[in-house]
């Protein structure tokens, strides 16, 4: 680097230093509001919430962050918001969560609702309704990593990019991993296909066999009615580089941007163990996946039968 370039660099950075006053003021404001939020948090969910957070088994480095970027200082706000949604907005009923074994586990659920509130509520249930409380890791789309704020947020609350290496590593750390084998196809279902499972991917089964992880099937009821999607415009989705472009009429009504306050029902099934060769033919793996899928279908059918009303 030539000296002239270096001095220009410094001059430029000096200019930046003046602009640096703004973040300092903003930072002060953020710190103050942070303290206020912390106090409000204690008030709403009680001292118990903090005690719960302290009981979560985490593997933090000296800097207070785990290797995947999970930061409890950040995560507590996220957990608090989803816990409030869980308790007060969607008023979820949780069944059978005591069957989730300690240690490594794959939670396999049906996917629904246009935005992944189902994932958030399963995480909330695993945090609020089990002992010890656990932070569930979910796998997110690569696409989300290229979005500002979203990528940082997901990383700080313990969500990881959906590649097999990450899943393997997390299970080897004995974490609880949530997967939606239907993927984007599942979440962007239109209303006429509600509670009909789309094709399941096979990756989760290979992973479970390879890492010797029990699978807990989870049926989520209530998500399909939160946003009623009448169609999926594939050409627009392609244009915006999005996985799906659902048509949701309620978005055009003031206040309709919020999901409808349906009552969620989460059913956790008995753990299922699978053995065999992780690299078996697709046909062999498919048969095993089918057992999980039909279990979830049964749970969904039973749950829907028991349900008397969408909203309560």
């Amino acid at each position: 680097m030539s000296p002239s370039i270096r001095s220009k660099d410094i001059a430029l950075a000096k200019l930046g230093r003046y602009a640096g006053v703004i973040p300092a003021i903003a930072g002060l404001w953020v710190r103050q509001s942070e303290a206020a939020v912390d106090a409000a948090l204690r008030k709403l969910l009680g001292e118990e919430f903090h005690a719960r957070l302290a009981r979560v088994p985490l593997k933090l480095g000296t800097a207070g962050v785990d290797p995947f970027g999970l930061d409890p200082e950040w995560a507590k706000y996220a957990i608090w918001s989803i816990a409030s949604l869980h308790r007060h907005y969607f008023r979820s009923d949780v069944h059978g969560i005591e069957q989730v074994p300690p240690g490594r586990v794959l939670l396999v659920a049906n996917h629904s609702g246009q935005i992944p509130i189902d994932g958030a509520l399963i995480s909330a249930a695993m945090f609020m309704d089990t002992e010890p409380p656990r932070i569930v890791r979910a796998m997110i789309e690569k696409w989300a990593q290229s979005l500002p704020f979203v990528s940082t947020f997901f990383s700080r609350v313990g969500q990881v990019v959906g590649v097999p290496e990450n899943a393997r590593r997390l299970l080897e750390q004995d974490e609880a991993l949530l997967v939606f084998p239907e993927g984007v196809q599942g979440i962007s279902k239109t209303f006429d296909h509600r509670y009909q499972l789309t094709d399941f991917g096979l990756g989760f089964m290979r992973l479970a066999i390879e890492t010797n992880t029990p699978i807990v099937p989870v049926a989520v009821i209530g998500g399909e009615e939160q946003y009623v999607s009448l169609g999926n415009v594939r050409s627009l989705a392609r244009l915006f580089g999005m996985p799906a472009f659902p048509l949701i009429p309620q978005l055009f009504i003031p206040g309709g941007q919020l999901p409808l306050p349906t009552k969620y029902r989460l059913y956790f099934g008995k753990p299922m163990a699978f053995e065999g060769d992780a690299d078996d033919d697709d046909a062999v793996i498919e048969a095993k996946v089918w057992r999980v899928k039909s279990t979830i279908e049964d749970m969904l059918a039973r749950g829907l039968k028991e349900r008397t009303h969408v909203f309560w």
Partner: protein, 314 residues
């Protein structure tokens, strides 16, 4: 003595006049004879270091090998100067290294240690959190200047297979911090550190002395293969900046990229615009193989490692 052979076994260090090369020379010369090759001068070299000041591509390189007493080669002579012309860059990095490999094979030097970089994997939105040594080298996908580096890595890999009698070690360290003049250290030395609004990737850094330590371990007899090497536990970029007590200036990517493009074309900055991906996406490595087979563990903790970028200031 960490090397398996006795005093008198000679090690050839290319690129010895870089900051890292000097550190390597200062450590290695206490244990064995060191010959350095670099076209730059080495004014404050230890007295027993034999420095040959010439370009790696020159025929004179063969003279170093001719006595037949070179027991190991440590190749650090990779040019990273982003301002050098692409042709010069390429011929220096690739042609120079190919020459070195040719002589290593001809004179059957028993050990070759090549310092590659974890950057060869490249920061990508779909990267696994920790990349293993088998991950594809996609670093050049968006950043063509790094292609030579990948080529050097690949050349070393094919050399590894072609010459089973020669112990080839490829080290892929994460961002090296210290007095070294690399992009990562220069970036953290800026008086105010620009970041991308809404992006705060986890990053791995390592102390320059830990790199030297890893090189020493790689020189041990019986060690061969590719090793990712990392420092202490990974951290979000913003934590590192606050550990340094620097100001952080966040720009939206949509502004930062054209701005940096502009600054780059006006020669106002030494940071190539595609390197923005390093402060946007994750590019971290799994160093368990180095821990297991090399017996490597970082000595510097995270505070020391980060603070090392300021040691050179006066």
């Amino acid at each position: 003595m960490s090397s398996g052979s006795g005093r008198g076994s000679k090690v050839l260090v290319t690129g010895i006049c870089g900051r890292l090369g000097k550190n390597v020379a200062r450590v290695l010369h206490r244990e064995r004879d060191v010959v350095g090759v670099d076209r730059r001068p080495f004014p404050d070299r230890p007295k027993d270091v034999d420095h040959r000041q010439f370009d790696l591509r020159r025929k004179r390189l063969k003279d170093v090998f001719r006595p037949g007493d070179i027991e190991a080669i440590v190749h650090l002579g990779v040019m990273h100067d982003p301002r050098a012309s692409a042709a010069d860059h390429h011929s220096w990095n690739v042609a120079g290294f190919a020459k070195l490999l040719e002589y290593a094979a001809q004179y059957q030097v028993p050990k070759l240690v090549v310092l590659s970089s974890a950057n060869v994997y490249g920061p990508q939105p779909g990267n696994a959190q920790f990349l293993s040594e088998e991950a594809p080298l996609l670093g050049g996908q968006n950043f063509s200047e790094i292609r030579d580096l990948i080529e050097v890595d690949m050349l070393a890999q094919s050399f590894f297979w072609k010459w089973p009698t020669i112990e080839t070690v490829i080290l892929r360290p994460v961002h090296i911090l210290g007095t070294v003049r690399n992009a990562a250290s220069n970036f953290l030395r800026l008086p105010a550190i620009p970041t991308l609004l809404g992006f705060d990737p986890m990053v791995q850094v390592m102390h320059e002395n830990d790199v030297v330590h890893a090189i020493q371990l790689a020189l041990k007899k019986g060690v061969r293969g590719i090793f990712n090497v990392s420092g202490p536990e990974p951290l979000p970029l913003s934590r590192i900046i606050s550990m340094l007590g620097r100001k952080q200036l966040s720009f939206p990517y949509m502004i930062a990229r054209p701005l940096l493009d502009r600054l780059w074309s006006l020669r106002l900055t030494s940071f190539p615009p595609p390197e923005l991906d390093h402060i946007r996406y994750v590019c971290m490595v799994d160093d368990s193989r180095a821990k297991e087979l090399l017996g490597y563990a970082p000595k510097a903790d995270i505070a020391t490692t980060v603070a090392a970028v300021d040691h050179d200031r006066w």
